[in-house]
Assembly symmetry: C2
Homo-oligomer: 578 residues x 2
Amino acid sequence: MGTKLYKNGYPVLGYWGKQLGWHRRPDLPNSKQPSIETIVQTPRLEVQRLGFAPSSRYEVLGPAFAYLDLFVTEGRLRASIDFGFKTEVCELELGSQMRLYPNSHLCIEPISNTAQMFVARVAEFETRTELNPSRFYQDLNTDWSLISSPATMNLSALSDLASSVIANSIDSLSPKFMNQLYSGVIPHAIIADNIRSQTKTTLAIQEASPVFSQIEVALTEAICQLIGWSCGTSDGISVPGGTFGNFMALHCARIRKWPEGKSKGFFGKPARIYVSSEAHYSFKKGALALGFGIDNIVEIATDEHGKMIVSQLAATIANDKRSGFVPLLVGATAGTTVQGAFDPLEEIARLCQSEGIWFHVDAAWGCPALFSKKLKHLVVGIEAADSVTFDAHKFFASSLTATLFLTKHKSLLLEANDVAGGDYLFHNNTPESDRGRLTWQCGRGPDLLAFWLLWKHLGLQGLSEVVDHFLVIQQECVKWIQTQQRLKLMHQPEYLNLCVEVLHPQMKTDNEWSAKVRRVLKAKNQAFVNYSTNSEGVTFLRLILVHPHISVQNILDILNDALSVTVDDVNKNSLAAT
Amino acid sequence: MGTKLYKNGYPVLGYWGKQLGWHRRPDLPNSKQPSIETIVQTPRLEVQRLGFAPSSRYEVLGPAFAYLDLFVTEGRLRASIDFGFKTEVCELELGSQMRLYPNSHLCIEPISNTAQMFVARVAEFETRTELNPSRFYQDLNTDWSLISSPATMNLSALSDLASSVIANSIDSLSPKFMNQLYSGVIPHAIIADNIRSQTKTTLAIQEASPVFSQIEVALTEAICQLIGWSCGTSDGISVPGGTFGNFMALHCARIRKWPEGKSKGFFGKPARIYVSSEAHYSFKKGALALGFGIDNIVEIATDEHGKMIVSQLAATIANDKRSGFVPLLVGATAGTTVQGAFDPLEEIARLCQSEGIWFHVDAAWGCPALFSKKLKHLVVGIEAADSVTFDAHKFFASSLTATLFLTKHKSLLLEANDVAGGDYLFHNNTPESDRGRLTWQCGRGPDLLAFWLLWKHLGLQGLSEVVDHFLVIQQECVKWIQTQQRLKLMHQPEYLNLCVEVLHPQMKTDNEWSAKVRRVLKAKNQAFVNYSTNSEGVTFLRLILVHPHISVQNILDILNDALSVTVDDVNKNSLAAT
């Protein structure tokens, strides 16, 4: 079997997205290298035939943006596929085909005297190797509008158009994209999205989605168990994004407090909701949409680690009660957006319990802590929560969106969400089987399929190892950052966010320097990272460890590039931007 | 060029999903038929090589559930691809590859002396040819749960599992699936979903989605123009399903009425919302979620055509005002779920205007009427609407969900939805470019890509012809139904819903007979259609014309099967169900 050169991160060959294709083995003499014969090459299409000598071993990198189809046309081959998270070995017989998904990597060797493969890939999908969105604005050839576009288009033009969409989109499959709390996808997501298109259905009724309804229940049960709730009394439902997870928490809390509001409305109920000042803005959107009013979201200050100060929470609640407000819900955050901080769940739980307040945990970003023994301490107390938001499109690299809202009050989802008037649709005698009754959406796809496949593939232990692996990367990055005079960690990370201020090359005071560096990195197509500003107005880069194949080297590359940014670069960049 | 035998509907060869593969030409003698040599066949894999004589012409049906990859390994071929909506012709050179998506159809002929193709398809994706969900319950081999599942799984087992997911899912790509207001997908949806997975992004910020943000704007502008609004003053945003389109209407109407509620909440605002008794239940969900209370959704009676009676609406509003309620919004329906009825938009518009009430049109199902000259009269008055819900996953066969919420009050989306606290994310100086500020969701994928591709492909005129084509099918079906003694049209359809009561074989009075027939059709795997019950308790089948390749014959087949159901069938079926 071929040596595995490509592990999580690929330090030897760098960023694979730019190195698509067959690679020569550096450890073999020229005479033993493969001969790659390109049979034909058109702008959109590339078909190759590859012959193997008996002793050859080759590595092929998976396509970044398309399937790579391999057909064995002579002899037999042994293949080792690296999923990043896991490696699989299989034998390929004459005539067999293998489909290699993006983000997977293959090492092949012949096991018969001669062997030959036929390789086909749609080259049109592979032009997107840049991070720079500025290219988009220079793309004068593509007309995105519909009003001014020609009446009709042939297949070839349509195909070019699809290519333009990809070519001009941001390369979020690169490990150097980390502007959002997602980066890259697992192959399972590509497969799941394909299954999704081809089994088009809604999870509203069991009749239309017998499998997906069960998968939703299976994932719900498994995660509830991780949280520490018992299966019989808890439930969950997929919602379109973490924002709606937090909306549903507000909704359930309100209905539970005032069940009559379901029919009568909530007029005259001045409820208050408490979150930390580092919480996600979706709580405000929820207060706005559900009619609480944004002013009734009360932001509690955080300590130097970005965690909610519980004594201040207690004091605020007491004060609000005296003023006639009804404290309805505390929304704790497990893994804040910028710092990756975990609120003290146990203390908050105790307070909520004694006050009779709904305790919600927004674990959209921090949910991997449920899987890892090394991180479990961060979410101690979550078992006391009334509800939890869980995202699989962030750390677990599913397609957007893949969110579960979970609650330990099983019957509440039906009580809070079932309405009359769906008789044309809901014919089932056991209403909870028709899971559309448990939520707002009617049409609802199998968002969680990719994560379910990943869990089936790796098992709980495997998922736990993945999280632990990322912690090792974090620790090594921190160690290196601390050796750098011009890099300043904004806080000691307990999770996967690295907040780093880049100091001015001449060590001048410039609070905006990191923001400037960020823009140069992006303009130079070196990295697409986000920045934030602390309470003193100091900007800093926020690097996140989330891409399934990220390596320490990727982070070091980004930070080294950040350190190399000069005053001149910044000036040129601001000129270009104007 | 080969004769096109396979048009929209395939009357000659029937339901293509079951007839995957190469087909012999009935008009050629045996000596001229192709020789199909199966090189190798494994359980999961099938690779074929096909040789062509110079004069041969063959038809190949697109794969139902996977890509079909065709490689020209000798000579040149001419191909004609039938997309159902449109036919394209192209030449395939030696070495070129063609990817055939589900729901597309190919006719090929050689244009050199000899020609050969290499065909590969992943057979595992092609087991799902049944409609019968009962098979699912007999599937004792698949363990869907995660808690009891083994710790880990190899690739082959994972692949089997993915196959099981498909095999046990409902065959919604069959034109005989019409239980929901969707059926089938356009190839553009498969392509779009693939692009979506591989350009994983959120439309929250322009930086992360330069192309998709523009596509959203392009579609919004084009549809606003169809509605009759001017581009500069209207706007729209994709939301996760028609339900959320209706939610957003309630939200915008409320914020516009009471702008201070954004920060203060809506306590003490007893608002009322008016919809017809045939409106979608999502309005009730909206009243529940947004805190209006379900009782404040007032259902207005409909006439014999299923249309809201405007005089009753006016009387109810006047009465509510006297009682101290604030009439906030009228939600008219363009295309009701069961009957496909269109409320009288012009009259409702006039009333709303004189009363100062927000006028919303739920056109989730009826939006194709905007495209067709023949149906445009049904939506006259929509130009006076304050907002519209538009679904592309119903008639236009995109993947679920693909919804646009549109409003003619351009600045309102930002006013109603922008909150502070997203500073880590929204760095843009022109807030409306970061489209996450205009809505609730943070993570939000390019739901509308498939419909945008379809529009680009066919043009406005092409989309119009598609809708007209479906009207012809409707008229032919109606004509046939009227010749049948035991079929009773519940109403003369003006749109694409066919509501048909099947009378008892012995013409006995049995209001439940159609519901029983529906269950037998499903159990026998003949069709998966929905039924409903009218105000007299009479059940009837609801057939919908929505599958991109549906034919008159498909409908006739279903109804003939329905007529063939015997009392014995019904008895056996209820025994089996117990």
